[in-house]
Amino acid sequence: MSLAQNFSRGIVKDNPIFKQVLGMCPFLAVTTSVENALGMGAAATFVLVFSNFLVSLFRKVIPSKVRIPSYIVIIATFVTLVDLLMNAYLPALHQSLGIFIPLIVVNCIILGRAEGFANKNKVLPSILDGIGMGLGFTLAMVVMATFREILGNGSWLGFNLLGESYQNQPLLIAILAPGAFIIMAFILGFFNIMEKRKRGGVK
């Protein structure tokens, strides 16, 4: 597999959200606005890249018996770092992402990549993989947040798109919990159809 593939795979083909349906909790919880989505995406990408890097670097040294605990420690370290840094320099974002920053630790994507990729690959591919997956995650978050913010608040990244009168009477449910599930259902449904079309075309 080429390096470019390592990088691009996570963005579309194996997108962690839309194709693998992993890390749903932060995805559903913080996509109420594009800003949050970007923040969360950046935080997760940071952790992904560095944990992939370290895991790959130490993959020969760490005994397999304590593989998972070691990865968890590595990931948790970076999560805490993000937590501290964000709190120091981006306090507002830190506040709105809330508990989902520490929860990056348990995000299946990150441990999944550490176990499933970095663990068996060289450093550079692992870093690229981390960046790709992180970007894919961020992209997916932004797509979802775009739907939710525009429908539920009439704005995109804070810019008022649909006018004052819409903002007074938006489709509020889009940014509430049920909206997240329902919109995700239709996004996945869309990918389902695309997939089927594609396969049908090949036949």
Binding site: T80, A88, P91, I175
Partner: protein
């Protein structure tokens, strides 16, 4: 046995590296976080207290022994900051009111002048429903009505305030009521303690 110890040491090593990194970053960020929190609070205080008078304001904590705590019900306490101008002349007081709203405890910072009239306010924290109670953060929707009122006129129209009462946020009586009554309770406590004049009275 040797194997076991080797594995244990390995994990310890990982943990120690993590610890060093974390300890270091924390030592760097913790003052920033503290400072930045501080600044935020201070900015809010200056902002709200700005309505009491111009120029350099001096804040000092006020300790009045007989000050009752109206917020014990939400596990908070009433703390008051006295605001003086640079000459030492009393301008008024700042305090934070805690009111249990629909889904969170709304924290409102209030500036009150020495005659017991509210002059400034801002919401420090709330997690009410977006589109409903969350509108409390938008001064134009509700809190603008507070300025110029004293404890006796802080009452919703719905709660018997009649024509002179406050208009609640549409569909969010609970939030509106929570803020109103928590502020009123703070003012009442201050006047009971003799810090500001009792209702309607003038010093």
């Amino acid at each position: 046995m040797g194997e076991i110890i080797r594995v244990g040491l390995m994990l310890m090593l990982v943990a120690v590296i993590a610890a060093v990194a974390l300890g270091y970053v924390n030592s760097v960020t913790s003052p920033i976080i503290a400072e930045q929190k501080e600044q935020a609070k201070l900015a809010a205080m200056i902002d709200v207290a700005g309505s009491l008078g111009a120029g350099n304001l001096v804040f000092d904590s006020l300790s009045v022994p007989e000050l009752a705590n109206p917020y014990a019900g939400v596990d908070e306490s009433l703390a008051v900051v006295a605001v003086t101008d640079s000459t030492g002349c009393d301008l008024g007081y700042l305090f934070v009111a805690y009111g249990k709203g629909y889904s969170s405890t709304v924290q409102t910072m209030i500036a009150v002048n020495t005659s017991g009239t509210v002059t400034g306010n801002t919401v420090l924290f709330q997690q009410e429903t977006p589109g409903l109670g969350a509108n409390v953060s938008n001064p134009a929707k509700f809190l603008y009505q507070f300025n110029g009122r004293n404890a006796s006129t802080l009452v919703l129209k719905k709660d018997g305030g009649g024509a002179g009462g406050l208009d609640a946020i549409t569909g969010s009586t609970i939030t509106s009521r929570a803020v109103t009554s928590s502020v009123k309770a703070g003012l009442d406590a201050l006047s009971d303690a003799g810090v500001i004049p009792a209702e309607g009275g003038v010093i």
